[in-house]
């Protein structure tokens, strides 16, 4: 029954370790053993079949029609058809052209240009209205503008992402596949209860709670282009939202019956130059919030209650794109738009630099104990692992002892499967990684190729084991209904019977896929009594229906 065992591959890299404050580690001269992990996977399902759940160590599937019935009866499975959303049909700039009165005085126009476009906008305005200003002023502002543009293009050639528009930047660096076209732009489970927040294409956020009849809809004037949402741990109300120009922290009272909380419930956190925000992460202790923007070389650490932020400036890399806080709270992964990422330790906020060989770090996830970091690099089809040895207890030095070895743990290069519908090529670059809170399932969202029909985006799920040695075992592919590709995925933070993977599909559907297994050592099982085990003799079809979710909600 079990798949052939997948060995642990540890390829040591030669590490040059400088024990400075910001440790520089150069990975050089390593060899990647060519191995194809996907070849060991069971083939993808034929068209029309969708993955329902995992039970007895195998992924069970059902047909689409039967699946849809179940989906619609389940309260937490949602469907947002694209047509139902009222979208903003015009952008800011187009409306500006329609309303701006061009007969205003030069002063008014200059003031407006200063407000809208800053210094360059002002210079642009002065240069353009050369009929009204003295010649020396228009010429000198033109020269300054040219100089600025030359300098920014030089800067842009160093960091190409700086020339992108903020929408493009969000799409490029988001963890969501094809973010700009995605109906569900962000998704977040509450870390302790069964509620979740969904950010939609129309810039609204809805909060679903199975225990409550109301679904609050959050809208705010500044809430545009939501890139990420996350609930504050150890808190029932606070939801952080990464927007285009600022960071919003909503306080949504779970007992309130209001369906439209006023914008007074939201705290606005902003810092000059820190936009657009592509990633946010709460500390697991709930005290701090970090936010990242590709335009800003500083990572902001916010004390949300007092609305004060500390910028942690490191120039290399040209920005920060993705953040991930380790579950034990000791480290933060911060990737940059360049081939470089940093691992911060959170005691004294020092960082280690990890230059990558090929591209930027696209995604990363931490093991539940915070000792292992898996990450993927753009342009490569492998998953790397860094192991952080525990600091010896009670050592007063504040820098944690960093990992000594980087290892390739899985190779997801393209593999052809023969299915009844024809050959399907699976593999390639990786969009995002998610590790379930028990540390036993690892979901990998593969980008695929949107142009080619035989290379779909697909989620590959691995079984993982940390003790006694770190292992990855193939589990299977997660597929949705035909034509729908996965865009975003997240594991439920405290599912009692194993792991629950929530997937947002390109069709606007959100589905939940349970993986039933007995976890080896999960701390919260001991607290909440022995888990009621799923009954393996039941038919799999019964698992995925509503009874499953009522069990979950109890």
């Amino acid at each position: 029954m079990f798949e052939p065992c997948f060995n642990q591959y540890h390829i040591m890299r030669t590490i040059i370790d400088h024990t400075t404050k910001d440790t520089l580690r150069v990975a050089s001269g390593f060899t990647v053993l060519k191995m194809c992990s996907l070849a060991l996977f069971p083939p993808p399902l034929p068209s029309g079949q969708t993955t329902l759940c995992e039970s007895n160590n195998e992924l069970l599937s059902g047909t689409t029609t039967e699946d849809r019935l179940k989906l619609e009866s389940s309260p937490l499975s949602l469907f947002f058809p694209r047509e139902s959303l009222k979208l903003h049909c015009r952008t800011e700039s187009s409306s500006k052209a329609a309303f701006l009165d061009h007969s205003e005085t030069l002063w008014m126009r200059s003031a407006a240009a200063w407000r809208d476009g800053g210094f360059t906008g002002l210079l642009d305005e002065i240069t353009n209205s050369n009929a009204e200003v003295p010649k020396w002023l228009s010429v000198s502002s033109g020269c300054t503008l040219a100089l600025l543009r030359w300098f920014s293009s030089f800067h842009g050639s160093l960091f190409p992402h700086l020339t992108m528009s903020s929408e493009d930047m969000l799409a490029e660096f988001s963890q969501v596949l094809n973010w700009s076209d995605c109906v569900v732009r962000a998704f977040a489970w509450h870390p302790h209860t069964d509620k979740f927040a969904v950010a939609l294409l129309d810039d609204s956020i809805k909060i679903y709670n199975p225990k409550s009849a109301t679904t609050p809809t959050l809208k705010h004037r500044l809430q545009r282009s939501v890139a990420a949402v996350q609930w504050k741990p150890l808190c029932a109300t606070a939801l952080a939202v990464a927007c285009q120009n600022c960071l919003l922290v909503w306080h949504v009272d779970p007992c309130s019956l209001s369906t439209r909380p006023s914008s007074g419930c939201a705290q606005v956190l902003s810092h000059p130059g820190h936009s657009p925000i592509t990633s946010i992460a709460w500390s697991p202790s709930g005290s701090l919030l970090v936010s990242a923007s590709p335009m800003d070389t500083a990572m902001m650490v916010w004390d949300v209650a007092s609305e004060s932020g500390v910028p942690l400036q490191r120039v290399g890399g040209g920005g920060v794109t993705f953040l991930s806080w380790s579950p034990d709270g000791s480290h933060v992964l911060a990737s940059t738009p360049s081939a470089l990422f940093r691992v911060w330790e959170t005691r004294m906020w020092t960082c280690e630099r990890w230059p990558c060989v090929k591209g930027r770090c696209q995604s990363g996830c931490w093991s539940p104990d915070g000792s292992r970091l898996l990450f993927t690099v753009q342009g490569e089809t492998v998953i790397y692992a860094l192991t952080f040895t525990d600091t010896p207890a009670g050592v007063t030095t504040c820098t944690s002892k960093g990992p000594q070895a980087a290892a390739v743990v899985a190779d997801l290069s393209e593999t052809t499967f023969n299915t009844p519908d024809g050959d399907i090529i699976v593999g390639g670059e990786i969009q995002s990684l998610a590790w379930d809170p028990t540390g036993e399932r690892l979901a990998v969202l593969l980008k695929g190729d949107p142009q080619a029909a035989d290379r779909p985006a697909i989620i590959a799920v691995f079984k993982t084991r940390s003790n006694p040695i770190f292992e990855l075992l193939p589990c299977g592919f997660v597929q949705g209904e035909p034509g729908a590709e996965p865009r975003l995925m997240q594991f439920h933070p405290n599912f009692r019977h194993g792991a629950l993977l929530t997937v947002c599909w390109s069709s606007g559907r959100i589905t939940h896929m349970p993986f039933y297994f007995l976890s080896a050592g999960v701390p919260h099982f001991g607290l909440s009594g022995s888990p009621s085990l799923p009954r393996p003799q039941e038919r799999p079809a019964d698992f995925a229906n509503q009874s499953l979710f009522t069990e979950l909600m109890s």
Binding site: H192, A305, S306, E307, T396
Partner: protein, 652 residues
Amino acid sequence: MLSAEQSSWFVRKVIFWRAVASIAWAVLLLPPITAVFVIISRFSLLHPIQAVAECLSFLTSASAIFSFILLCGVIIMVGFLNLEYYTVIPTIACSKIALLGQLLHPRQFVNSLAHCIMGIIVAWCCAITIGGRYETIAYPSTQGDGSPQMCLNEYHLILLLAGAFVGFSHSLLGVIYNMNYVSFHSVQQYKYLRFKGSLSLVLKCSATQALYSVRNYIVVYFFLGYVPKAWICKTLNLHLNSSVHPLDSIAGLLDLSLLYHLWISASFLLFTWHMTLLLFRIFVTEVYSFPVQSSFTEDAHQCLPKVLTDKQPMILKFLALQDFALLSQHSPSRRSEVFSLSQPGGHPHNWNAISKECLSLLADLTQRLIAYHDTVATNGRAKSLSTGSERKTSSESSVTSVTEDLMSPRPTLLMRTPASVFARSMVGCSQSPLTAPFTPDLDSPFASPALRRLTAPMDQCSPWFGTVQSPHIMRRAPKLWSTSTDSKVNGSPQASPASVPSPKQEPSKPSLLAQFLQNRKEQLPEASSQALFADSQAHIWALEGLSYLVQSSFSEDQFGVVQTALPSILSCMLGLQEAVDRHFKLPHASSKPVRSASSMGDSTHKTLRFALRATLKTSIYRITTTFGNHLNAVQMSAEHRKRLQQFLEYKE
């Protein structure tokens, strides 16, 4: 005094040396800053090479070295003043009058005077550095009739006076923005990185503040410039050169080069001072690791459980609490020392001492909040009792009410509020800042009889002076003030301000001045709430430390020492939660302060109450998520159980 002796070891051995290190660094950083200043002030676009050569030759000249030594002296003096005046609990003036009182306090007067003199010294060094027309105070010139005489160099004078003005305004702004308040950061960083990160902010602040100060200075000089000019001329027997434009005219002040030099000198002055302050803050707030227990009895007073209970140097208590919060979060081995039992006897002395101190801190805050709320609530109830005649006296249409019993201090009231700025957070202060009742002591700003007269109304509501400034109470003040003026106008300075007038006085029509003062007083409604939570950083650490310890006790506490305290910890936290919830329902309590962007003053104290509320909730959730339904076995009152159930269901 035993406690003074014990606590002084910390000031002597740690704080003093930290201050010395910060001053040393400030002095070390002075040469590069001065060099940059020399280059910026002397640089000319037309002759760049000549200017650089001049700068180099100046930097090696004797006058430059002398002025540099003077600057070092100023920096050391500024560092000393920082050490002398710093506080970890901000003083929050609840009304404009109180703020005025702070500004006129003798201690503050000494501070301002020192800053004025240092400003003049720095400005003199700047004048030497810039050279040219600024260099000397007098120059020989020939009068119209050909006789030579010494004339006053007004450019030199204007620069010196600018230094004095900027120094003075810096010291005043220091009071207004609480610049002597040293706040602790929740993000720990190494000193160098923190300094590097804040440097650009300090530069920006200095440049902006210099700009505003120079603007104000020019206005003042335009109107009053002739006074010092005439005085200097008379004292030094100098003459005014009539052939040169006087500078206190529009044409004279519109000299761009003069304005630039004034601004750059003011920026230099403020930057060096702000940098010294920044270094001092960074060094003083650095984490100090106290031993949890010591094997030697002579070191016992330096251990964490003992140090936490010390009242006296507030900085020691704060650093101890910070260390406690950090150890409970990050250090398993030190946690195990807290959980350990004493060797003969088997008592958890460490845990008992620490938890007792933390709980008493929290209970203290709860008491304070309840007392405050009661005062306000009594006010509300008394609304119906207020007389109609009083209503007329108030210019506002809202209620004018205060019951007379409010005017006398009630014994049940345990109002504990932070001490004034002037009470140093060091040894020698007679009142512990945590326990000082808010009665204006005699060395308060109102020590002079003339001021006492002004402050009579405040003294009359002394139990809540500065703390309870709800409009209801404060509206009462003008009436009392005007009556008390009547009694004192006739020159009876022996009337002590503490003598509370009979509450049965007939309300009289307040004078114009009284109404003006009343309006001044009511303008800071949020401040009473801020003042209530002024020392809440200590409570935040106590909450964090306790909750982390309780969380880790689930797996690390071998002897179950924490379990015995769990009911009291939970009830204390839930009680505080209730009090905080009630407080935030008051008007103005939940209004956010306006964020001041560029100022060296730390505005952390304005948001401490929000930080406390968030930390409190997080702490309770930390305990409930760790223990889950086991908490149902903990004994507590029904009301608290109901509240806890809300937390267990994630509904708070």
